[in-house]
Symmetry: C2
Subunit: 527 residues, 2 copies
């Protein structure tokens, strides 16, 4: 029946069967203190790749070649959207400035160190023709941390501060590396001066703001439509479909306008969980929460399976088969640069961030700094996608320099995901021995997507509402803004949210009465 060839049907079957296998094996290894889902998928992918390689007699198996489009169009959006949808918004916004510092400034520092380091070491090693643009691209490629892997290592409930810092940094970092990478590709070295540098900074801010706005707008639009039209009256499926489609539309629109689609869909997720999610029926709430999480979960496993299988694609290894020793050196140097480059911003920037905080529990202590440093060392699919884009774009994979960079990217991704990944869980356990204690200290929220601020009127979670009520008690506007800026911003945002946003866009407490729909209950739905 299908017009596609037999081999692609075989490939889809193989992939789906492997995904099932990963789900089951991942479940069986859940209690294991070393493994996580990504590593399981990566290893299964590697094994399958090896089997395919052996059965096809060492031929290139093109059905397993990494495709940027598949990654950026289908796999990344659900992961990032779900991250925004499930993120603890209070923590995220409380640490917003620190996250931006790490994500934007940190990425720039890491980019600089890796670029300069690579230029310094690789020029002496005779690994093929690499231009200055290539070295800068290497900096951008290896500055992109793997937010997917990080999410699986840290636990949002156990270490909320760290989670929001590392994950928030990951999202901003993704955007920053992609912007950097695009900037490099249109880079004219002969005319580089401070004006051009300022131009790039301006460009980054422009992209950041527009991407965020687009995501917020898409989220608000979905909330408004669902609130106005009472979809739930007829069909809960329509609500779910609209949320899904609008989120995806925001991502693709951002791609269309060359914004940072990752940022857009992340903020769309945040707005949807703050407004839209409260306007739908209870069935829709359960469905969206779990369906988005499932889509994200499957996409993550898919990516790591894919990377694992692709790593053994024989073609690119043939070109550098005579210089495996050199490959080991290159990969080692890159790993070292990643370690140094990340250390060079995590510790200084944490110090700066700590200067602005007064309370001890808001500061980032040394052990936490080490965890942040370590948790962001993994490199993943974004690095792979950027490397393919840079080093295979003109079809000259056969050139030694390019083949060397592709294979060393694969080596770095595999090594950092497996080795650093395996060590993270034990490390977190050693450095932060009593996560329960931490949790209590940092006023965690329940794990349902919920509003940025608990509403003032409220028949639920009374204690938390009271607590945030005390935090923001009547600031004396200007003086308060200078002394405790974030609390003041929070206070006015909350006034605005209650006075204007919620009446228009719905949200917690503003659910209209829908005939036949159960009233909201929060007790046991979220197991």
């Amino acid at each position: 029946m299908l017009s596609s060839d037999h081999s692609s049907v075989v490939a889809i079957n193989l992939f789906v069967a492997l995904l099932c296998g990963c789900v089951v094996i991942g479940h069986l290894l859940e209690e294991n203190r070393w493994m996580n889902e990504s590593i399981t998928a990566l290893i299964i992918g590697l094994c399958t790749g090896a089997v395919i390689l052996l059965t096809t007699g060492g031929q290139s198996s093109h059905l397993l070649v990494f495709s940027e489009d598949l990654f950026f169009i289908y796999l990344l959006p659900p992961i990032i959207f779900n991250a925004g949808f499930q993120v603890k918004k209070k923590q995220f916004f409380r640490n917003f400035m620190t996250i931006m510092l790490f994500g934007a400034v940190g990425t720039l520092i890491s980019f600089g160190i890796i670029s300069v380091g690579a230029m310094h070491f690789f020029k002496k090693m005779n690994i093929g023709d690499l231009t200055i643009a290539d070295y800068l691209a290497i900096g951008a490629i290896f500055s992109a941390t793997d937010s997917v892997c990080t999410l699986q290592v840290l636990n949002q409930d156990e270490t909320p501060l760290l989670y929001s810092l590392v994950f928030g940094e990951g999202v901003v970092n993704d955007a920053a590396s992609v912007v950097l990478f695009n900037a490099i590709q249109s880079f004219d070295l002969s005319q580089f001066d401070s004006t051009v540098a300022l131009h790039y900074v301006g460009n980054f801010l422009y992209l950041f703001i527009l991407s965020t706005l687009l995501g917020v707008l898409a989220g608000l639009l979905s909330a408004y439509i669902i609130k106005k039209l009472y979809f739930g009256r007829h069909s809960t499926d329509r609500e779910v479909a609209l949320m899904m489609l609008m989120a995806y539309l925001s991502y693709m629109l951002a791609e269309l306008f060359s914004f940072s689609a990752i940022l857009t869909v992340f903020f769309c997720g945040i707005v949807m969980s703050h407004y839209t999610w409260h306007n739908v029926t209870e069935s829709s709430r359960v469905t969206t929460k779990h369906a988005f999480a499932t889509a994200s979960f499957v996409a993550e496993i898919f990516i790591f399976l894919y990377v694992g299988m692709d790593a053994l694609d024989i073609e690119k290894w043939n070109v550098i088969s005579d210089s495996l020793g050199k490959l080991a050196w290159v990969s080692g140097i890159l790993l070292g640069l990643i370690l140094v480059g990340r250390a060079a911003f995590v510790f200084p920037l944490s110090f700066i961030s700590n200067l602005t905080k007064k309370a001890s529990h808001e500061k980032i202590h040394f052990k936490q700094q080490v965890t942040i440093w370590w948790a962001g060392l993994m490199r993943g699919a974004v690095s792979m996608a950027l490397a393919y884009n840079q080093f295979t774009s003109l079809g000259h994979t056969q050139m030694r320099g390019n083949a060397m960079m592709i294979t060393s990217t694969i080596s770095v991704v595999l090594f950092s995901t497996v080795v650093f990944g395996l060590l993270t869980k034990p490390l977190v356990r050693i450095l932060l021995p009593s996560p329960k204690h931490l949790t209590r200290m940092l006023s965690s929220e329940p794990s349902t997507p919920q509003s940025f601020f608990v509403p003032l009127f409220g028949n639920e979670n009374g204690s938390e509402a009271d607590q945030s009520n005390q935090n923001v008690r009547r600031p004396n506007s200007l003086r308060m803004l200078l002394t405790t800026p974030s609390r003041t911003v929070h206070y006015y945002w909350r006034k605005f949210d209650d006075g204007f946003m919620r009446p228009v866009f719905g949200g917690r407490g503003f659910v209209p009465f829908i005939p036949g729909s159960p009233t909201e209950r929060n007790d046991h739905q979220w197991e």
Copy 2:
């Protein structure tokens, strides 16, 4: 960031935006007595196609060309799986023989009449070179009813008997036309005799049985795995992911073995809703129910949008631009043959089916026969896909005969969906004026996916349990089997189900205790 060209990003954006539009407009037109979702999507697709045609100055817009792969690999599986997952199993199996009669024998009758009719009329019309294989293919193409459209016209709760007959027929019919179509493509006319005919009948039965078995096995495997491993203990997302992946795997495996994937995934859905669905946590149950329905809903809208936009693809119209009058004749003749071909099996086969029933409420009355006849007249995406396969397979779309058949297929699909579709709702209302009365007569089930048989022990739905209890009271095996065969089969199936299947594969009443999971409640979850 994307390596794909700008135009495909634009196309995706356009499509997602149109899907959002269809969801919203479909909701607004819900109360309208003429429209349904398919027609809305088709008309929006047509309008968009027209706008694209005008803006591109009448050029062929290749980003909107119908792709069989997209249809068969991504869009059809969720629709058919969801149909199996949500079908009222009691009704379906009670009418199993009638459904098979309509689906298999009926399709063959319709195929014969349309083939012979087309051969008779078109040979005189000089519409280009068409071989005998082409005429037989036309018979298969126009025998494939559109189960998607039918689902939207009839209501499972209002007319359960008709719904199960028409829908069940649609699924079997899909399988039958695909088998017929494949048989024709490997057809050797010089050697056709009764042996060959028997061979094809054997082939059909072989495909039917193996396809069904594969689907049942996949469903049972998923039930067994989830029951054994207590996925819900850790993560409800794992359960949802596994159900989704196993269902898709069954579909793709069937494609791999050249079975009827539609049948496989349909039976996989039935088994999953009978066993697997009862083994998962309550959150997973809500999520799967609505997520599968949403996926199916979006895929349906997608197909009709697609067909609508593709209909205006200018290339194929150019070839026959000088013979539009002839196109109208060809389309008219085909529509006539469809009407006659369907009448030729619905009324005789209903008569045969009525002979085997004793109770008046089990018989198919004349008005219901007319409704069955009418509801299956629409032709849709399966016809389109088969037509593309037959008439563009060797790259000779430019030939007049082929272009004529493609364009007339489009015309028939558009006309039957829009005109017959628009008339169906009023017709059903005239022919079956009091659906409420019908419902009571035909012992409807609540609309949750639930077990084939209500368990005997049970603290819920007492009345229905009692009723089915009376129906199957101790038959005196052999004599009963001859007089009331279906009840006897039911009785032994139920004994087998309670004694062996449920203890092994779970199912209603056998949910293991999962810490942290709420106990089953059926009261208000399903709005």
